[in-house]
Amino acid sequence: MEHEHSVVAKTNGPVIMTKNATKEPKSIQWILISIVLLFLTLFLVVPLIAIFVKAFEKGADAYLAAIAHPDSLAAIKLTLIVVLITVPLNAVFGVVAAWTITKYDFKGKNFLITLIDLPFSVSPVIAGLIFVLLFGLHGALGTVLQSLGLKVIFSIPGIVIASIFITFPFIARELIPLMQSQGTSEEEASLTLGAGGFKTFWYVTLPNIKWGLLYGVILCNARTIGEFGAVSVVSGHIRGMTNTMPLHIEILYNEYQFSAAFAVASLMSIFAIITLIIKSFIEWKTGFKSTKAS
């Protein structure tokens, strides 16, 4: 035991030294912390408070009236519909993509990973334009769709497609590094024990990735609710029909209905804050850090 103690003491020495080496004097610490706090207050906290102040400027009645307005309710409903279609679909796509990439070896795997990242690198407005060019009246597939009586652009399907495109990488990107680090041996063990593919996924893979999946779902959800650029291009801004919440806010704002605009904006902010709380809870629960591509 004596011997072990001396070894521990020896290895402790240099560790403390390196810690000291990266430690700044107290004064610099405080200055840096103050700068960060000031920055966060100025650019995040003040605007957030401003949203609520502006929203309640004309009183609670006006606030409720703005939210209860049929156009606002239609925008909220549409946003929820888009979320309810987009997020589950992307959850399935994300799991399938991550599974394909991490559990199999094939040629062109790196290309596939790059492809998944594409929505991150393409401007949302361009993404929206792509779909207009593809599905619009004069687009490549537009005439075919029209002859079938289907309308994609300037209607809900277009908004959903654009949202799926924009938010596709979130879940896949969250799961790929996680599943890579876990390897395939647990799945193999499950197969040798007589479980089929579905049971293996359900009992072994899914429990192992559930927190990562939930984290990805939350990020995807937040982005779907807030997406403006791509949706703006494909929606056509038809009041009460094809306006999601961000688009509705923009219209209200352009019509100088500031209180109403901020009322709807405050609702979105509440969504965002709830999302943040759930996200922090997941991080706390799992000690799990986002390993999304930087």
Partner: protein
């Protein structure tokens, strides 16, 4: 259940991992696949399990063709090097898994499963651990759980991929003895992969020595150790000294020394002598006495390893004596001695002169 491996060939891309492997394993045998890394031993094991498919050849269990059977239908127990326990399940659920996922018709009742798992927990001496999770167990305990999990489904055959490779030396020795006893008790045909020749010799009924995707030799531990059929096997099993030379009329000439090699063909050859097959003397006793100088003496428990340098060629030789022989001789570093091989095996160098 017997296993027959027939003409198995496996490629990874353009790399040929296994070439025409043929092997018969009798029911109830414990077989070691032994070889250096990259020899294809793990690939062969995974092909037997059905975790990988061979390009060519057949796998037969009890003379029934299993080549195209899915891994889940082969009823094999597979133990992984890094345990591969289900991290999200308790020890109890890990062991019960194979029974719980059975189709309803052949699934045992809850009570039967509980009884079976309790029995297995007793067998692997982890009764008090059923509610713990894999991350709370030591390496040796995890591997025992992995074994219990594999045995729970009463497999036709048990396959183990470097089962003790990730454990420290002492636990490793205990576990392999325990595996042997377990095998004798259950009498299930078992195949395990290892790169540790001591482990293979210690546990297996028969050893399959593999190198570069081929089988070099198959035999009992005594057979492969005492009668290696080629230089690779000789070299791979235990430390060996090489004497490069020429065979002329039944004698291997190497440096200034002549050794008796009555059954060898004439030509460029290499003599192989195991480290423990030497006699050390103070005087030359024949033409096969090699004049040498003692360079190093290492005492390793009951065995003393002595490194000498040949006087004629300056090549080092490694010799092992037991402690008593060493004490009797009173050897000292730097001393001049004569070294005589007790047993010599000569292989003709087919590659020489090419």
């Amino acid at each position: 259940m017997s296993i027959i491996v027939e003409n198995i060939t496996k490629y990874y891309g353009s790399y040929q991992a296994l070439t025409n492997i043929n092997l018969e394993i009798k029911s109830g045998e414990l077989i070691a696949l032994l070889g250096p890394s990259g020899s294809g031993k793990t690939s062969l094991l995974r092909i037997i399990a059905g975790l990988e498919q061979a390009e060519n050849g057949n796998i037969l269990f009890n003379e029934e063709n299993y080549t195209h059977k899915h891994v889940k239908d082969r009823n094999v127990g597979f133990v992984f090097q890094h345990y591969a326990l289900f991290r999200n399940m308790s020890i109890f659920d890990n062991i019960a898994y194979g029974l719980k996922v059975r189709p309803r018709k052949i699934r045992p009742s809850k009570k039967e499963i509980e009884q079976k798992v309790t029995e297995l927990l007793q067998l692997v001496k982890l009764e008090g651990y059923k509610d713990r999770y894999p991350s709370q167990l030591s390496g040796g305990q995890r591997q025992r759980v992995a074994l219990a999990r594999a045995l729970a489904v009463e497999p036709n055959i048990l396959l183990l991929d470097e089962p003790f490779g990730a454990l420290d030396a002492k636990v490793r020795k205990e576990l392999r003895r325990w595996l042997r006893r377990l095998h004798d008790e259950f009498n299930v045909t078992s195949v395990f992969v290892t790169h540790d020749q001591e482990e293979a010799m210690d546990v297996a009924d028969r050893v399959v020595i593999m190198n570069e995707g081929k089988i070099e030799q198959v035999g009992t531990p005594e057979e492969v150790y005492d009668h290696p059929i080629n230089p690779f096997v000789y070299d791979f099993l235990g430390s060996v000294n090489l004497f490069k030379g020429n065979v002329q009329q039944g004698k291997l000439v190497t440096g200034n020394v002549e050794m008796n090699a009555p059954d060898s063909e004439d030509g460029v050859s290499t003599g192989y002598v195991r480290a423990h097959n030497f006699i050390i003397e103070r005087k030359a006793s024949g033409k096969d006495s090699i004049a040498s100088i003692i360079d190093h003496i290492h005492t390793m428990g009951a065995i003393v390893r002595i490194e000498v340098i040949r006087h004629d060629t300056n090549e080092p030789l490694e010799i092992e004596l037991n402690k008593e022989q060493y004490m009797e001789l009173e050897l000292r570093k730097g001393e001049r001695v004569f070294v005589r091989p007790k047993e010599l095996k000569v292989f003709v160098d087919y590659m020489a002169g090419i």
